[in-house]
């Protein structure tokens, strides 16, 4: 039953990623064609553009949601592949704990970076 819960969330986060990463990818890689969210023109990764984007609170929030969803989706997917190699019960437990710790650490770090940069962008 636990697997049903985890898998349902895997699918749900997949849909969230589809929308948010879709926006992210369009911004970053179809910038030459569409040029969304790039007020300064040129490359999407130019400093002026990322500061301009970071001033929008919605971007910071979407980044954090995307971060959480993508970490869950990716780590669950990786766990699925590892579990299908047929590891022993003890190793399965170890993988579960390790992935939770890894996921939470990366989430905390990424959230801190996103919020911090939001403040920096507003400070000037």
């Amino acid at each position: 039953m636990r697997e049903t819960k985890l898998w349902t969330w895997h699918i749900f986060t997949g849909i969230v990623i589809l929308v948010l990463l879709g926006i992210h990818m369009i911004t970053m890689h179809l910038d030459g064609i569409l040029g969304w969210f790039n007020p300064a023109g040129g490359e999407a990764i130019d400093w002026a553009n990322i500061v301009a984007r970071a001033k929008l609170l919605i971007i910071a929030i979407l980044y954090i949601v995307l971060l959480a969803a993508a970490l869950y989706h990716g780590l669950y997917g990786f766990r699925t592949i590892l579990f299908e190699l047929g590891p022993r019960q003890g190793i399965q437990k170890f993988i579960n704990v390790l992935f939770w710790i890894l996921g939470i650490c990366l989430f905390v770090f990424g959230t801190w970076a996103a919020l911090k940069f939001y403040i920096i962008a507003h400070a000037g």
């Binding site: 890689h29 990786f78 990424g110």
Partner: protein, 146 residues
């Protein structure tokens, strides 16, 4: 007797790669796995690298300078290809695995048609959409001079 010696005969990881006269869906499954792993690896590095912007504009510019070399450009494009495939095939898998595009149970009449035949149009459409996305991305990556 049943307690006799047995010879283990599992295919092992080689079985994931197919390696024979299997249907296209089997290779899409393998590709979904490989692209997923690739994206996860990139994603974790991506979190760490893009966070450099917090420290200074210089740190950001340094990192972006490193990644603007042709090798990384191609690597980045491969990640984009993986994303486009994983996303579009992912939509197909969600529709299938939640039972929307596998059809209803029916009386099997020879030659048998299975749920694979039901989802095949969806599969073809998703491959075409993924190909279009990859082509558009490739145009942006390489043709539009940055």
């Amino acid at each position: 007797m049943l307690q006799d010696k047995r010879c283990p005969n599992s295919i092992g990881v080689w079985g994931w790669l197919g390696g024979g006269r299997w249907g296209l869906e089997r290779y899409l499954y393998t590709l979904h796995r490989l692209t997923g792993l690739g994206i996860l690896l990139y994603f974790i590095l991506h979190i760490l690298v893009t966070s450099s912007r917090v420290f200074s504009e210089k740190a950001w510019e340094t990192w972006m300078g490193v990644f603007s070399s042709p090798v990384f450009k191609i690597g980045e494009f491969l990640v984009y290809v993986a994303f486009a495939y994983h996303a579009i095939n992912g939509i197909r898998l969600i529709l299938i695995e939640l039972g929307f595009s596998v059809g209803k149970a029916e009386e099997p009449i020879y030659p048998y048609k299975s749920s694979l035949n039901v989802q095949r149009p969806l599969m073809i459409v998703s491959i075409i959409v993924a190909a279009v996305l990859i082509a558009a991305g490739g145009y942006d990556f390489f043709a539009l001079a940055h």
